[in-house]
Amino acid sequence: MKRTLQSYKSGIKPVWCPGCGDYAILRAIQQAFLDMNLPPEDIAVVSGIGCSGRLSHYLNTYSLHGTHGRAVPTALGVKAARPELTVMAVGGDGDGLGIGGGHIPHAARKNVDMTYLLIDNRIYGLTKGQSSPTTPVGRSTTTSPDGVTEPPVDVIPVLLSYDVSFVAQTSSLNIPEMTDIIKKAIRHKGFSMVHIFSLCKTFPVIEADVLKDLLCPLPEDHPRSDKLEAMKRGYSRDHLYTGVFYQVEKPVLEQQLDARIERSCSFEQGEPTDNIEDLLLRYV
């Protein structure tokens, strides 16, 4: 049977506010899965807490809506145990840059072959408008009545510093671009991160028109393997560049784990075995 967009929809009706950027992101994910013709039963999606955390409910995949900030290590466990699956983690700016920010460098170091979509609306929307790690300075929120004083996280430079092996940026305003980048991220062999600007209609931090004017595709000739160039464009204040900033090949966690199995078994000159007798006899 030919797959359609319907094949990737769970049938559960989203609870997001009208006009939320998450609708477009959900659509782009489903389109990317369809374009790649991935069997839904071979996809695992792990999401965190927040509006974006609900995303996994609406996909007809093996979906795990876990705890705040832990989508990445949870998804890593799925991939490490079952390398043949397509594994995706989804979370918001609170999830990925606040409570769970500490997991990103380690997923990057391990270079687990999964995709992490960091959906950044610059506000805690689900809990009705508290400031987040990317809320701009001066912005008044329920937890910053006199305006935010801490500068926001520079997301792309941070990810580059961690040497995330695929770093891209896009926005919920552009479904075709998102779809294209998500597909590239899934195809990338290693830990791929896509920072997606999203709009919160209920607690708007930035208007669609303003964001649209700031967005600008990376130049055609942007050198993807040049981290310093990527860093420079990641820090840009005049434009918010979209596209793939950085992509590099590194050994992947699952390969390393497989190599350990191979080494251990070739040393013993045998296949992996469930027969534990010789393991236990080592202790006699």
Binding site: G66, V78, A80, L279, L280
Partner: protein, 611 residues
Amino acid sequence: MKADAFRSELDFTVRIAGEGGDGVISCGELFARAAARTEYHVFTYITYPAEIRGGISMIQIRVRDWTIYSMGSQVDYMVVFNQASCDRNLPALRKSGVVIFDPDHVRLPANLNAIRISIPFSNISIRETSSRMSKNIVALGALSGLFKMERSLVAQLIKERYAHKGDAAVEKNLKALDAGYSKVVDSDQRGKYNLKAEEKSRGRYMFLSGNEAIALGAIAAGCRFVAGYPITPATSIFETLIKLLPRVGGRAVQMEDEIASISAVIGASFSGEKALTPTSGPGLQLMGEQLNLASMIELPLVIVNVQRGGPSTGLPTKTEQSDLKFAIYGTSGEAPRIILAPTSVEDCFYQTIRAFNLAERFQSPVILLSDQSIGYRKATVRLPDFAEIREIGECRPQDKLLLPSAEKIDLVHRIKPKRNELKDYKRFKSTPTGVSPISSPGMKGGQYIATGLEHDEAGKADYSPANHLAMSEKRFRKLEALSNRLEVNPPEYHGSRDAAIGIIGWGSTEGAIREARYKAEAEGVLVRHLHPKVLSPLPVRKIRHFLADLEQVLVVEENYTGQFAHFIKGKFGIKPIEMHKCEGVPITSNEILAGIKKVARITDEKNITKL
């Protein structure tokens, strides 16, 4: 009571003590390994200082011709390297015991009632190897001579242990061994025991620490994924697994912290694998939130908590049974989980297998509460009958299942949905036992949403009052189903049915309590001993029955507040006498015996014939 289970021909305890870095543990472990090759059982107990160097290290080795239940209350042979370790440990030496000491570093009290063997470990080491480093092997040589061990066996163990340091190091240590050996033999101070190596007639035995037994038990149970973060005293479980898992096609990943570790284990279990994370108290606390998620989305997984002294950083290298309440109740909201506690090194192996069987069968996180004293202790463990290890596949809560033992091990798996159940699949379908078939990725039509939000049978978020009640009932029904199984297969009682005094313990105190019971019986005080291994849920009817016949119940545990006693009080409405030890070291059989006698004095006079 079997007479031979208590009285034996050969039963002695050796303690070796020195400064951290003296090689005390190496010396003791080599001696224990050599002793384990004989006909006899061996049991070690180790305390390390928390630091790499400095502080006092101690290893105690008990050798016996019958099963050993505890580290022993008194020391028969003491080896001391320096004054501080001598002063600290000498009080444990029994009257007329043997003390082997370095006269250049230790001055013994003049009035000491002991047989003194003076061996200048340091000077002999310097003379033979031009370094102090081998003084522990000089001491090992002395012990080997004392117990008439075969030189060739001890030499072989030294070669295995020091091979990685090169031939020169092995040669030096062999010279040190011979020097210590002949020092004792020449002085004709040989002990009364003969530890000549022999083929064991009682079956084949491994020599394992409790932590190694847990790692091997996990592999035997079919665990093929482990994620962990180093924490004393649990680390060697992960170290053993990362070494051995690849051989059976398994994967081990060191994570950045305990939260990440349990997250990865949740991910692995969600993907269908049997998965484990080892930790100690502070790590378990960090895992709390994710543990609740596992209860909520009903995932099988095993957490091993090798308890240490607490709270906070506490006593990382010491033992305590003080995480029980956290294990049972440490949840936000009400999250059912299963708590097991192994009682010995050997039991670590079998309870770990049982932990996986229960996790898979009841789709629940299982916490295995071990502790430092069994984690670090080494003991002889009978090899299971490999022909009797069977995969029996899916297992339902109501199915009969034998407890894993050396004779027979059944391995079970979570129930999967059948083809017809995959049409309009309801992952969290309400069933009489609360257990519903669980799909895993790759299974077409089995896709579902596992959410930490309250959800309906299909997994869809649902906060309605009726649904929350129904799903809470579903999750807790699984514990009832397990509790009902335990009524059929209850914990064993030991001791006479006529006893008026009952003693309840859990975890690693089993051996010391058992020994105390034997001693009490020898003095005419009858005691019944109950030692559940599944601590939560408990088989309520059976335990009520046990309690009904007793006049006094003593609950023994190694903590300050009496956590299990409170649990028993709450469940059964009785007022037990609580006996706590909160010193970071295991309770001894003599301490428990003293408690039993005290209780006996205030109980039924008829029980006391010889007090």
